[in-house]
């Protein structure tokens, strides 16, 4: 399947509707940090430039604020296309180009498998430990602890519900791709 069609299947987005007004890029709060601006991501998808999109930092830097989606005069949802590109990159074995964000998403879902819910302090702590940012935020963590905003981690007993969903979803996706 062509790259453009793969994105459309995953996200329902028809990028051919885009007429490059670049409202998405103008409103994006993270555009100044991105290698490809949102309008360029959409245009690259349209041109079938899979390598440049799937290896871009932009798809991982999208924080899903939906400003682009909300403002697109053509009803295209760039945020949904970026989300589809993240899934596609992982499916094709392309490592997240912004490593820390990949580590965070993986760790977040792994934490959900323990209890169904996440323990926010563990997710933050483990992510920051793995990405070398723990020391910088330790004073803040202590302040939050004193104020009762860091709860002790629960026993990992309630994860069964989510683990079932996780297993089923991944198995079905693997099956449908095979």
């Amino acid at each position: 399947m062509a790259f453009r069609d793969e994105i459309q299947t995953l996200s329902g987005q028809n990028v051919n509707l885009c007429f490059q007004c670049s409202k998405c890029s103008s409103g994006c709060p993270l555009a100044d940090k991105m290698d490809l601006k949102p309008a360029q991501v959409i245009h690259s998808i349209r041109l079938g430039r899979a390598d440049s999109v799937l290896n871009s930092q932009s798809i991982w830097l999208c924080v899903d604020c939906e400003t682009c989606t909300s403002r697109c005069p053509q009803g295209v949802e760039p945020a949904s296309a970026m989300s589809a590109a993240r899934v596609l990159a992982l499916q094709k074995g392309i490592k997240p180009s912004v490593k820390v964000i990949g580590i965070y998403y993986r760790g977040f879902v792994d934490n959900m498998r323990l209890n169904g819910k996440i323990h926010d302090a563990s997710v933050a702590g483990i992510t920051q430990l793995l990405t070398g940012q723990l020391i910088a935020d330790l004073p803040l963590a202590m302040k939050l602890l004193v104020r009762g905003r860091v709860k002790p981690p629960p026993l990992p007993l309630g994860g069964g519900r989510f683990r079932k969903i996780y297993r089923n979803a991944l198995a079905r996706e693997k099956e449908s791709r095979a």
Binding site: L10, G12, P29, L30, K33, V63, D64, C65, E66, T67, T69, S70, G75, E77, S83, A84, R86, V87, L90, V100, I101, I103, Y104, Y105, R106, F108, V109, M112, G116, K117, I118, H119, D120, A121, V123, A124, T127, Q128, T131, Q133, A136, D137, L140, K143, L144, R147, G148, R149, V150, K151, R161, F162, K164, I165, Y166, N168, A169, L170, R172, E173
Partner: protein, 307 residues
Amino acid sequence: MRLGYYPGCSLEGISAEYDESIRALFAHLEITMEDLPDWICCGTLAAPSLSRLLGLATPLWNVAQAEKAGYEKVIAPCSACLYHFKHATNVVMENPPLRAEVEAVLELPLNSPPPTIHPLELLSDDGFEALIRGSVKRDLSDLKAVCYYGCHISRPAKLMQFDDPENPQSMDRLLNWVGIQTLDWPRKVDCCGAHFSMIKPDYVVDMCQHLFESALEAGAEAIIVGCPMCHANLDTRQEAIAAKLGHALNMPVLYFSQVLGYAFGLPDKELGFKRHIVDPLPLLKCLKSPLPTLVTSGTSHFPHSTL
């Protein structure tokens, strides 16, 4: 109307004061809601970044629980949970083959999932105006504050179907009812950076710096929010932002539920003020209170008021 309540993970952790103040506020207004049974995390942006089906099925587990429990609506105070519930419901219910697939993953049916709404959507309804105006016990008219809505309370408009995506008014209206003349400012729907606080804190500091600069320019002494991530970022990153600005900030960031609860005279302890990094009490305590006219009037037209 039976209401389900989905607190979400943040409200059980870093944003406990949002949970406490929402529960105290709803109890005071005699709005009954039941905690959603067997709820799990909505998966936020992490689950849909790993697998599309997982990203849709995870929030829908909770929606299916709400349908099973027979709620007419689900209240989600976290706007990220709110967005993912609504997004997944919308995508899946419009696509029958996908719906069958998600039902198979969940091993649960999805027939008529109840809508999820933000507490602002419930409370800012005109039907609550008299009750809210009549419950006021403290005069907060001196509070100079801006309302910060962030991303998902009203955006994307096509999905959220609530308020204006560029210039929302629901929180302002609600606070006007309790006597606060909220200030106008241009950044009420800008993004705070959300979970990037944990992975790209410098980006969040940049994004929140714009918010503080704009709030200060509008003359605000406090920012009022309706999302746990907006609160966490604005409340916890002020030291780094102050260093960039070159002057102290110390601007209290409050949930609308705390402000309403405070206006209604609820005890500070129930509203969780002690949990803030920037203590809002010095600002709140210097406002004139209580309302002399209301306190001496003795009677009230509103059944819920304890005056």
